[in-house]
């Protein structure tokens, strides 16, 4: 059984159709990478998956729980959020919490863990991203790369079934991108199920088990990295990839 199955997900905002019927299936251990032009609705799709934005209609099956997206309730919202985690484009570390507290907040309030156990896990996660010496630092005292790696540690500490990455490297200085990519790569190698939105095609190729080309609120093409990058079905994918190559 797939971990997450979405059928005909639609999102309207002020009468404008942002998502126009998205079907998506992700199995345990898969890494789905979503590529596509800016403004196509990729971030909106991620936020509709963990209900940070409320879908207009559609169906979802998460670990066997059927959810009618038109009639979301608080239980559904908490179910998804307490089994998934998200890494944000602009890091979104809690500015009023230290690096350690940024990780423990979700464990204490989301996972209902006691403080000592949460601290132990948080220290282990900070160690995994080589930032244990920054445990008492506030986000404003950390570099962008360090903040994003703590953002990743915050997500993995929750031991989620699925992590959603929203352009995790696009706000970083070029020399900091590598370390963040390595952290995500390590997670993929450990079998972490992930959906990653990115503009880095080499990263998409390397990490993705499946690539989705997203444009105008719909999946226009999908397949293995080899298929999408070498012989896509949709002509727009070629145009998009060549435009990106020219930019470089």
């Amino acid at each position: 059984m797939p971990l997450l199955q979405i059928k005909n997900l639609k999102k309207k905002f002020d009468k404008k159709n942002i998502l126009k019927g998205v079907d998506l299936t992700i199995n345990k251990g898969e890494v789905i990478v979503i590529i596509g032009p800016s403004g196509s609705g990729k971030t909106t799709l991620l936020k509709n998956i963990n209900f940070l934005e409320q879908p207009t209609s559609g169906e979802m099956n998460f670990k066997g729980h059927l959810i009618n997206l038109q009639k979301l309730n608080k239980q559904n919202e908490l179910l998804l959020r307490r089994h998934t985690a998200m890494v944000f484009q602009n890091y979104s570390l809690f500015k009023n919490k230290t690096a350690l507290e940024n990780i423990t907040e979700g464990l204490i309030y989301g996972k209902k863990m006691d403080k000592n156990k949460a601290n132990q896990i948080a220290l282990k996660e900070l160690n995994a991203v080589n930032l244990s010496d920054k445990k008492d630092s506030y986000p404003a005292q950390l570099s962008g790369g360090q903040q994003q790696r703590i953002g990743i540690a915050r997500a993995t500490a929750l031991d989620p079934d699925l992590i959603l990455f929203d352009e995790p490297t696009s706000a970083l200085d070029p020399e900091l991108v590598g370390t963040v990519i390595d952290d995500i790569d390590n997670l993929a190698n450990k079998g972490q199920t992930m959906i990653v939105v990115t503009h880095l095609m080499s990263f998409a190729k390397r990490i993705g088990t499946k690539i989705l080309f997203f444009e105008d609120g719909q999946i226009k093409d999908s397949g293995t990295p080899d298929k999408i990058f070498n012989h896509p079905d949709n002509k727009r994918v070629e145009e998009f990839l060549s435009a990106i190559a020219q930019d470089k």
Binding site: L52, N90, A140
Partner: protein, 230 residues
């Protein structure tokens, strides 16, 4: 310039300072409670309530304070009378000028403070709230643990502005018979036409009071900001 009169009058004006402080502090505190409710009502976008609250805020911000004080002074007793007209003690409704002053300043500050709360709320990046939800917090926990602590230090400077305005606006309630600093200055001055001296006394008192409160609130803001953001 009669310096002797000025020095002699100063303690007399100071003796009514508690009235000014009572009106401004109690009025602002009640206004703050109302402002929180107004800000929540406006942010929640509730069908009929939100437009009414929007209208209330626009009216309060668009009308001079003295007009608001007169409207409350003449209107509130009539409104209460109309509401409880059929009650046993309907004829015995009297409201003290102090009560009316507090109500007027509470209403006045509630509109401005609700805007200050909304500004502080929007100054906190929405992704902070999203991130809190994404780690499994409930909306209440996200607001309480993440948004509110960041909002408060941003709110204090605007709160200070509103509060100092209210302290200064208490000088208007002399018009409804409350003898506060300005009222006392008028009375003292009128005996021998020492208006400048009496008003200079009032100036010194208002200046010192506002300066002290501005410093206290600025100190409070710094303490909270350091605690919240290290």
């Amino acid at each position: 310039m009669n310096w002797g009169f000025m020095f002699k009058s100063f303690p007399k004006l100071l003796s009514v300072l508690p009235i000014t402080l009572y009106l401004s502090i109690i009025g602002t505190l009640i206004g703050l409670i109302l402002a929180i409710l107004i800000a929540i009502g406006r942010e929640k976008k509730i069908v009929i309530l939100t437009p009414i609250l929007n209208l209330f805020v626009s009216v309060m911000r668009g009308v001079p304070t003295i007009v608001q004080i007169y409207i409350v002074y003449y209107g509130l007793p009539r409104l209460i009378y109309a509401l409880f007209e059929h009650g046993a003690n309907s004829k015995a409704i009297t409201l003290s000028s102090m009560t009316i002053g507090v109500v007027a300043f509470a209403l006045n500050s509630s509109a401005n403070l609700s805007e200050a709360i909304r500004a502080a709320y929007h100054s906190v990046d929405h992704s902070q709230y999203d991130a809190a939800l994404s780690v499994g917090m409930t909306p209440y926990e996200a607001i309480k643990r993440i948004v509110l602590p960041q909002l408060i230090p941003n709110f204090i400077p605007n709160f200070t502005n509103v509060f100092l305005d209210i302290i200064k606006d208490t000088s208007l309630v002399y018009n409804i018979g409350i003898v506060e600093i300005m009222g006392k200055a008028n009375i003292i001055a009128s005996f021998a036409f020492n208006y400048l001296e009496a008003y200079l006394d009032a100036l010194v008192i208002y200046l010192i009071v506002c300066f002290i409160f501005a410093r206290i609130l600025s100190w409070l803001e710094n303490i909270i900001r350091r605690r919240v953001f290290a």
